[in-house]
């Protein structure tokens, strides 16, 4: 990166460290943190959407729709996350390939699942064998996002379902008394009013989601954990320009600090949002703010 980095063996001290930390592989390491943040930014709204759909379905007056909503919540909540992460990634991947297999492949005589092996013709592979490396990583990233969204959507659905039931009945009855239809009550009163009740649960979920991101490593994505192990392991053999001992401890310390900062910053932001949402609510916090405002 810098000009004086041309011959790393002649460097010492801070200069050496400066060159060492700006190698191309280290930029992949830093990039993986961006990937984690990107994953969070994409997954959170998607999971919230899944949760909203699940909660609305569970509240539905149409029985089969309600069953689907409740079934989704119960099924995901009852199984450990990690089982779902491993299951969904394989299931989604194989499902896609099997579906494509039915349409694209010429020879459908062979069973796809045979003797514990999963085999489709090359044309039905997702992504295709000829796909660019970018497409391959985009595909695995997409699978990871979908899996996270399905799992965390179920938890969010449970939280939102509880929050919808927590909105004071009187507020909904007032809206009905004004002649609003079911749909209008839902959209204009229930949904805007439920957030303050949902927020404690949702902030919990957000913190859990942050802490679940290292599981990407288990899904085979080259994330921060992968690079920390790769870069930290001892580099003494061969003609490595930057030889060093086993530094994995320091790399994982850096990861630990990254996660501690993320959770701390989230906590501060969430506290602010809670204050903002409490304003004017028929809750203890809202009442205290009202009295405080009146006194001032």
């Amino acid at each position: 990166m810098f000009e004086f980095c041309a011959d790393p063996r002649s460097l010492e001290g801070l200069q050496w460290l400066g060159c060492y930390l700006t190698t191309a592989t280290h930029f992949s390491f830093y990039w993986s943190f961006v990937i984690v943040l990107l994953l969070l930014a994409v997954t959170a709204p998607l999971a919230l959407a899944f949760g909203f759909a699940g909660a609305s379905a569970a509240r539905s007056h149409v029985l089969p729709v309600s069953w689907i909503g409740r079934g989704y919540i119960a099924a995901v909540r009852g199984v450990p996350d990690i089982v779902f992460f491993l299951f969904f990634v394989i299931a989604l991947d194989q499902g896609l390939e099997w579906f494509k297999h039915l349409f694209v492949c010429d020879d459908l005589s062979q069973p796809v699942w045979n003797n514990g092996e999963f085999r489709v013709c090359p044309a039905a592979k997702v992504p295709l064998g000829t796909a660019s490396p970018f497409m391959v990583s985009a595909y695995s990233f997409g699978l990871a996002v979908t899996t996270f969204a399905i799992v965390f959507g179920a938890f969010a659905a449970n939280v939102l379902y509880g929050a919808m039931n927590a909105v004071p009945r009187a507020q909904l009855e007032t809206a009905e008394a004004y002649g609003m239809s079911h749909r209008q009550v839902f959209r204009r009163v229930l949904v805007p009013q439920m957030w303050i009740y949902a927020l404690p649960g949702l902030s919990n979920l957000w913190l859990i989601l942050i802490k679940a991101t290292p599981l990407l490593f288990l899904l085979g994505i080259k994330d921060a954990v992968y690079w920390a192990r790769e870069l930290g392991s001892a580099k003494t053999s061969g003609n490595n320009p930057y030889p060093h001992g086993d530094w994995r401890l320091f790399y994982f310390l850096a990861l630990l600090v990254f996660y501690l900062v993320s959770t701390r910053v989230s906590e501060i932001v969430l506290t602010r949002i809670t204050r903002r949402l409490s304003r004017g609510q028929a809750t203890r916090a809202g009442e205290e703010m009202r009295k405080g405002g009146a006194a001032a």
Binding site: G116, I210, K211, A212, T213, P214, L215, F217, V225, A228, R229, G232, D246, R248, L249, F252, L253, L255, L256, Y259, L260, T263, R264
Partner: protein, 187 residues
Amino acid sequence: MSCWDTLQSYAFRSLGYGERLLPREGFDLCQQFTLIGSGLIWNIYFGVLALGFGFFLANALALAKASRSPWARKPAEWFIFVFRGSPLFIQFFLAYEALVLLPKDGIDILGLHLDTSWTTRAWAGALFVLFLNTAAYSAEIFYGALKTIPKGDLEAADAYGITGWNRFRRIEWPTMMRLGWIGRAHV
């Protein structure tokens, strides 16, 4: 191969007893249940021991966090923050890398020889991290419970002249357990 045979050869495979090689044929439900069940022995081992030992540390941490002295409060707050604010997955890796750095042939302190080779084994290292992790989460719950003990209980204790250790043992601790136990069941 009958189910009883499968059970005999694989029930304790995860502990290193019985057949070493996995079955190459059949793959019936009996084999699957036996092999997965065999792995579950470890889940029970980690769960019971980590929760059991973690309970005591959690009590101490909750008291320290509620303490007035910053010498007790600050370390407890930091301990809880670090273990609750970072992923368990990272904690496992970090602890393992740290334990690997211990000298291989033990440490000699004051003529006492401490063996270190066992600390990097999975049964010890993972248990250690799980123990600290569960202690931190439980401590936060117990701390919350300690803060929500009804004022009346403490005033009643004062009125009866119950103070110090007696007050903690007979009034605060039982109420703390009652309030915190449900939350801890979730952890």
